[in-house]
Homo-oligomer: 225 residues x 2
């Protein structure tokens, strides 16, 4: 069932692979800054706590290959991953809820990736409305639907208090948003049209706690070169 992937990025990649590719790129960009032009599969593997085989397989997946044995060309690899992850049009993003977390995230993302731009933010607090946070203008909640349409925003980052999570999610859904990254600890329901990713930090912390307690586990597989 090897559905032809001759021409790049036509096929849909499995979720874990997409995640890893994003991580690889992050490291590759860093390598570039340090003037590193080539990188071996096992180097990338070490950086991301998995195996060299896994890295090669991922890279094969996206159709890149080098015939050199000096490792992968960093620049080229970044471009190929980019052609998969960024494919085509760039997406506009909004941050909803400009509390501590919201403004931290806005500052954090700023200019980290082309092809993904935070273009607006929202809050109920009149103190915050019409102010800029990290250069991004904060709009009143009441304007949410209109602005999302006008500015062609397709992804929302939800950083509102728990008790308004459901309400806000509904608003976003109605406004025709395409994807939501939910930082709230509340599970929300949206129409199946919307891609929803729940991102609860407590869950991750509990995961770490669990494996710390059952600490026979290693975070690196022993077969790693």
């Amino acid at each position: 069932m090897d559905a032809k992937r001759s021409s790049r990025n036509l096929m849909k990649l499995p979720e874990p692979t997409v995640e890893r590719l994003s991580e690889y790129r992050r490291s590759l960009l860093q390598c570039l800054e340090q003037g590193k032009t080539h990188i071996f599969s096992h180097e990338l593997a070490t950086l991301h706590h998995n195996t060299a085989v896994q890295v090669r397989r991922d890279i094969m997946f996206i159709g890149y290959s080098t015939n050199q044995r000096k490792g992968y060309d960093v620049r080229e690899l970044i471009d190929v991953i980019g052609s998969i992850l960024d494919s085509g049009k760039s997406l506009n993003i909004a941050v909803v809820g400009m509390g501590n977390l919201g403004s931290a995230i806005t500052a954090y993302f700023l200019g980290k990736r082309s092809k993904m731009d935070i273009v607006a933010s929202f809050d109920v607090d009149p103190q915050k409305v019409n102010r800029e946070f990290s250069g991004i203008l904060c709009h009143p909640m009441s304007a949410l639907k209109d602005i999302i349409r006008e500015m062609n925003i397709s992804i929302a980052i939800m950083t509102v208090p728990a008790d308004s999570a459901v309400e806000v999610a509904n608003l976003l859904d109605e406004a025709g948003i395409k994807g939501i990254l939910n930082f709230t600890s509340i599970p929300v329901k949206v129409s199946p049209r919307v891609y929803l990713e729940d991102y609860d930090m407590i869950t991750f912390l509990e995961k770490v706690a669990y494996f710390v307690k059952h600490s026979t586990r290693q975070n690196v597989s022993p077969s790693k070169i």
Copy 2:
């Protein structure tokens, strides 16, 4: 290979299962607040965008069962999940780096879970040292090793700037930390003894972006009841 799991929580659970259990508990706690005493498998499933079968299988995994057909007893289920996730001693946590993100996270976690306490924070900035953030005292970076030992801290949340990530990770490693939740966009190396979870928000955002673009995908499986 059904390795006996007669007595609860002896066996190590797979990572995805641990993640889901944590998420279930979050919703269950919410149900409790709303006065809901029983919950069906398909209700939990809807809340978490997976199937009723999956929920039942997870619950079976941890050895809980109800003979009633009124659904699971919310209170009991919370306790059983707790006995797995919180098993035994409670863990002390430190936040390293009290910038925007660090203080946001500190405030966010506050009192959300027993059995996991943020007990200290650290920063290089003299302006921040000796102040309290959300009731947690901020210590100078130089005291990191000592405090970690004194206060028996086993998990660190890393929210420092990118360029000091590696250095801080080494410090934590040397101090004998058991688990690290890395919010930095830099991959760090630690000894295999340490459980490391990288938590890059950009990766998640890129994942959402990818699947928004390839939007044939549904976020809920159609076979969900």
